[in-house]
């Protein structure tokens, strides 16, 4: 009986070691590669890739007085870890309270949140219901007002 337990040990050690190596290899590689401003600009260029039909979508939460606050809550829960708590402080990903974002059509921002930028590390966020994604867009567009309150 004891023999059976020990027969697992090398395999467990191998699996755990591989897991840690994968974790280490990819985390280390990412840690040094986030500062180039050219890369930052190309991140914002993702907004322009939104199809015209989607970009033209209207934000039905635009006039909802609760939406910026709800959007802020969602932003802090799901986005702030990478984009920074205020939206201006750069962390893993570019800040979102910049002109490129402020002037972008709401539909294009919604499209980027929905599809992510998978190749560059931003996951898809379609797991958030559509209403919540629009609430985040509302917050991004009205953030200075919310921050000032």
């Amino acid at each position: 009986m004891r023999k059976a337990v020990f027969s697992f040990c090398p395999a467990i050690a191998l699996a755990v070691t591989t897991f840690v190596l994968v974790l280490f290899a990819f985390s280390g590689a990412r840690a040094g590669a986030q500062t180039d401003s050219t890369i930052q600009d190309s991140y914002y260029s993702e907004i322009t890739k939104a199809p015209a039909k989607v970009s033209a979508k209207q934000n039905s939460f635009e006039n909802d007085p609760e939406a910026p606050r709800a959007g802020r809550k969602l932003y802090e829960q799901h986005c702030a870890e990478c984009h920074g708590p205020s939206g201006r402080e750069k962390r893993k990903a570019p800040g979102l309270f910049v002109e490129q974002v402020r002037q972008a059509p709401p539909g294009a921002l919604f499209w980027v949140i929905t599809n992510g930028v998978v190749r560059r590390g931003m996951p898809v966020w379609s797991k958030l219901p559509e209403a919540q994604r629009w609430q985040i867009v509302t917050y991004l567009k009205s953030a200075p007002k919310v921050e000032a309150q």
């Binding site: 059976a4 985390s27 809550k73 870890e81 599809n115 797991k127």
Partner: protein, 324 residues
């Protein structure tokens, strides 16, 4: 799970009968203690230097949607399955799961499994290493994710994380002493096909499993549908808001093997599921699986708790001299 013949069971029963009851109980407590200590150790390790991430987790315990772990985040999960066993002792199987988002398109996980069969013993039953790869960059009507897993588990494993081939209730009836002597080295492949529409998530996961030995290919499936109780977020941070609860149903079962495919001699389950995503990063899941035929366990009650830590990749990168 391979069945155990009557003579083997007799031998096992005699063997277990020779072990004093108090010793069996002590072994059981030691197993529990080790599992609990391991879980505490993992939580402690990842808590150092990492912050909490708030997750919007799916309620499924068996089925998978196409959503992967966010890159750099580590989710530590503990799950339990309480199962009834006709012609044997009920059991409590459990596993610890470490899920790491390597890339936005790649998630890797390791599992450690164990189980307690009542009036028998508590044993460690093996480990699994799972990888999920997102195949398309953007969202589509149906989003495919390729899943591959290596399992090294004993025949005594009862977590029933997936059902395939001719896995039936009687396959879990053997005493631990005899069942643990058989080992499985399996490769498991799934195609996770998932779609999100108007707040609903629908997923179908066809499964193909091959034991590395000469055993035939086995097939199974899992599918599910889920939806948050509220689609719009409230403006205030709250624990009991409807938006934090996701409810759904999942169904899973075997589809036979390459020589004998179909639903006969397979087990099938349907399970209502609910997840409670707390803003603090904790997620609780509960599911009550009901066996749909005589080959299935009557009831599989599952629950799980998980916590997501963000910035784990960055913390490890810093430890090894990477720039933050």
């Amino acid at each position: 799970m391979a069945g155990t013949c009557a003579s083997e069971l007799d031998v096992a029963e005699k063997g277990v009968a020779r072990i004093p009851t108090r010793l069996q109980e002590r072994k059981g407590f030691a197993g529990y203690f080790r599992a609990f200590a391991f879980a505490l150790f993992i939580f402690g390790c990842v808590s150092v230097g990492c912050s909490t991430a708030s997750a919007q987790e799916s309620p499924f315990i068996v089925a998978y949607s196409h959503y992967l772990e966010e890159p750099g985040n580590l989710e530590v999960e503990y799950f339990s399955t309480y199962g009834t066993q006709r012609g044997g002792n009920n059991f409590h199987a459990y596993w610890i799961e470490l899920e790491y988002g390597v890339k936005a398109w790649w998630t890797t996980e390791v599992y450690a499994d164990g189980q307690t069969t009542f009036h028998d013993s508590t044993i460690f039953t093996g480990f699994r290493w799972e990888n999920r790869f997102r195949l398309l960059r953007r969202e589509h009507l149906i989003n495919p994710v390729f899943y591959v897993e290596y399992e090294q588990i004993s025949e005594a494993d009862k977590i029933i994380k997936e059902v395939e081939g001719h896995d039936v209730e009687s396959g879990h009836g053997a005493l631990n002493g005899i069942a643990r002597q058989g080992h499985k080295h399996e490769l498991e492949f799934k195609l996770l096909l998932s779609s999100t529409y108007k707040g609903w998530n629908f997923t179908v996961n066809p499964i193909a499993t091959k034991d590395i030995s000469s055993a035939p290919w086995e097939f199974g499936y899992a599918m599910g549908a889920s939806r948050p109780l509220a689609l719009k977020a409230s403006a205030t941070r709250c624990n009991l808001c409807a938006e934090n609860f996701v409810v759904g149903v999942e169904m899973y079962g075997g589809l036979g093997d390459q020589h004998n495919s179909g639903l006969h001699d397979t087990s099938q389950y349907v399970a209502p599921v609910v997840a409670w995503n707390l803003p603090s990063g904790w997620t609780l899941r509960v599911s009550t699986g009901i066996g749909l035929n005589d080959n299935s366990h009557r009831v599989l009650v599952r629950w799980g708790v998980s916590h997501e830590f963000s910035g784990v990749g960055k913390a490890i990168g810093r430890m090894f001299g990477g720039r933050s």
